[in-house]
Amino acid sequence: MKMMSMGALAALSLGSSSCTQAQMEEFLQKRFREMTEAEKKEVIQRLEETYLRKYGKKFGISAQPAGYGVLWGYGLDLSRCIGCRRCVYACVKENNQSRINPQLQWIRVVRLKKGSLINLENAEHYYNPETVPEPGFMYMPVQCQHCENPPCVRVCPVKATWKEPDGIVVVDYNWCIGCRYCMAACPYKGRVFNWSEPNIPADELNTDVHYLGNRPRMKNVVEKCTFCVQRVRNGRYPACVEACPTGARKFGNLLDPSSEIRYLIENKRVFRLKEDLNTEPKFYYFFSA
């Protein structure tokens, strides 16, 4: 019954003559969390073929699930950040964001006058000096804070976004309907929207991707930082952590008492952005000096 009504819907909204088998399958595709292992495999194979046709490149799409006993946490040392935005561009490159018109970025570094931290109204987003850091200013990179209590997940009308068992908030790009309610709900500007078909030069594509992470997206869906799910589930650091020239970015397992992130939380004076909203971010800011 369900399949019949879906088939009828498909025929109605696409018109049977002008669409290929792959498009039809994509249209009828289930939400990722509802798929069986076999269905996941099938979808991934179809996606790899589609990407090959579209970009002329062989992609490896992983669907690796979260590991046991892992809850990812992030630390950011504000006294070390120099505002160079290397993390921003490393992220764009690693995660296949659209490059031009519009250029999407998952990390935003804001420049704050020293003496003001909480009121972001005077934050400068488009600072562009010859050299950084500039005297009198500090810099604060902001990205998805991977809240334990994420307002974006609560508001999504179709459950296209959720928190994985390892704490990463992900989006099923093929299930998102593009209503942008999550963007209105996020207090950290953690989400960006593909207002048009993403633009990535073929030679800049990263072909090592995760289904819920950096695989190429389509127009009119939302996307966000995933702590580089494709890397961290394979024992690597997120791209922004590796790119940071001052070592301001830290990453690790909150459930592992010997991890660096646990050391920082226990020994540094950490704070989280907008704690008054009770979103419980797993993104800790601190000052080492």
């Binding site: 369900k2 009504s5 879906m6 819907l9 909204s13 696409l14 249209f27 939400r31 509802e34 018109n101 519009p102 935003r108 804001v110 009121n119 972001l120 109204e121 005077n122 934050a123 987003h125 902001v142 307002p151 609560r154 508001v155 999504c156 009308p157 179709v158 459950k159 296209a160 299930w175 998102c176 309907i177 593009g178 209503c179 942008r180 309610y181 963007m183 209105a184 709900a185 996020c186 207090p187 950290y188 500007k189 989400r191 960006v192 929207f193 593909n194 207002w195 048009s196 078909e197 127009k219 009119n220 869906v221 909203l277 009770n278």
Partner: protein, 416 residues
């Protein structure tokens, strides 16, 4: 089979009319046609053709949606004064109110669809076929209550009309419970729509508990204002029965509603400006401009001027009981509330954004064209509804055993 005859005659009926009727329909169809070309462009290129961006991710479409939910709610609530004050043609007011509500809901849903990035995945939101995140997402609540309201507001008038056509009295035991149900439901759709914004802690401008009451108060202004104009147009063109006294009574109630609306706004302005925390910024952006950005300032002050002028017009008996000033007041309210509740409510929610950035938004030609198209579509179906409903209610369009089968272009007018 009379049902088949009824259907055939209905279809013929909408194709027959006065010159004004043809012109009006052609005008609306032309706008709809133009809007379709703009919408095709949006489908093709993506929402990049609008002026919305990550900073201001909702705009004109969602503003219109909010406004129209209010119109839909208030159109049905007109039934209450009609009943209390014994406006003569109560059945007519119920039918007109519910059909106006149905048209407004159709427009509201179309605005959501226009705003949706992936309309091709619309089925994801249909309960049981897709996945509707009920009860967590307020948008899921809205999908349910709006569609339920649409069904309710089409069943009742269609039932009354068909019964009347067959020369029978509608069964009270069927109609009255449904009409009574549609009254709290009307309050419900607008409350849920207010909660949609209200429930977002990230947006202090919306995160004020006064939002739902304000929504209802302003809906009680804009909905009846629209009904007042429509009543008069239909009285002139289609010979709808409605007395001036009823219009004046509605206008009086609108004065109270506008007073409450302005009072609630004042309460909010006081709280924000007197405490003057960082949450004042969106309000400041709207009324004064912020850090040199003031795109909405002229809009909101025009809206304020319109609402206050209309309030005075409807308060003073002399101007309230004069059709010319009454109509000026109604138009001022329709536009004033539209600004206050459309752009004036949605856009400042995003300015400044959660990280303090200011991106100024005003709709562009694509958004305006598509919005006009949706309005034209709503008016078009409402016109067709009325084309059938009024002759039936006047007793001109009846079962073939009671009357001649001829369909007149126009039925004689009734003196107000």
């Amino acid at each position: 089979m009379e049902a088949w005859i009824f259907f055939k005659r209905t279809v013929r009926m909408v194709f027959v009319g006065t010159k004004a009727y043809y012109l009006w329909c052609a005008f609306l169809l032309a706008i709809i046609g133009a809007a379709i070309t703009f919408y095709t462009k949006q489908l093709d290129a993506g929402l990049i053709v609008t002026n919305m961006r990550d900073q201001v991710s909702w705009g004109l479409y969602i503003g219109n949606f909010t406004y129209l939910v209010g119109v839909a709610a208030a159109a049905v609530l007109l039934v209450i004064p009609a009943y209390i004050y014994h406006f003569d043609p109560i059945k007519e007011i119920v039918v007109l109110g519910e059909l106006l509500a149905a048209s407004a809901i159709i427009m509201a849903l179309m605005f959501v669809l226009a705003d949706l990035g992936r309309p091709d995945r619309f089925w994801h939101i249909i309960p049981f076929i897709g996945i509707l995140s009920f009860p967590n997402s307020l948008l899921a609540w809205d999908v349910i209550v709006l569609n339920g309201y649409l069904v309710l507001n089409t069943i009742v008038p269609i039932y009354i009309l068909i019964k009347t056509y067959f020369g029978k009295e509608p069964t009270k035991n069927f109609v009255i419970p449904l009409v009574l149900l549609s009254i709290p439901w009307a309050v419900g759709i607008h409350t849920v729509t207010a909660f949609l914004y209200n429930g977002l802690a990230a947006r202090p401008f919306w995160n004020a508990s006064i939002l739902a009451p304000r929504f209802l108060a302003s809906a009680f202004c804009s909905g009846p204002a629209m009904a007042l104009i429509i009543f008069q147009v239909l009285r002139k063109t289609a010979g709808m029965k409605i007395k001036n006294e009823a219009l004046f009574k509605v206008a009086e109630l609108m004065a109270y509603a506008m007073f409450i609306n302005l009072f609630l706004l004042g309460a909010e302005l006081f709280k924000e400006y007197y405490t003057a925390t960082i949450h004042l910024a969106p309000m400041q952006y709207l009324f004064q401009g912020l850090h040199g950005h003031h795109a909405l300032v002229p809009w909101i002050w025009s809206a304020m001027a319109m609402n206050i002028t209309a309030f005075l017009i409807f308060l003073i008996p002399g101007t309230r009981k004069n059709l010319i000033t009454l109509n000026i007041g109604s138009l001022l309210i329709i536009v004033g509330v539209w600004i206050e509740k459309g752009l004036g409510l949605i856009v400042p929610g995003f300015i400044p954004d959660p990280l303090g950035e200011i991106y100024e938004y005003l709709p562009n030609i694509n958004e305006i064209a598509i919005s006009l198209g949706i309005w034209a579509f709503g008016l078009f179906i409402f016109t067709l509804f009325m084309r059938i409903a009024i002759p039936i209610q006047r007793g001109d369009f009846v079962h073939s055993k009671y009357g001649k089968a001829d369909i007149k272009r126009q039925y004689e007018r009734i003196k107000p």
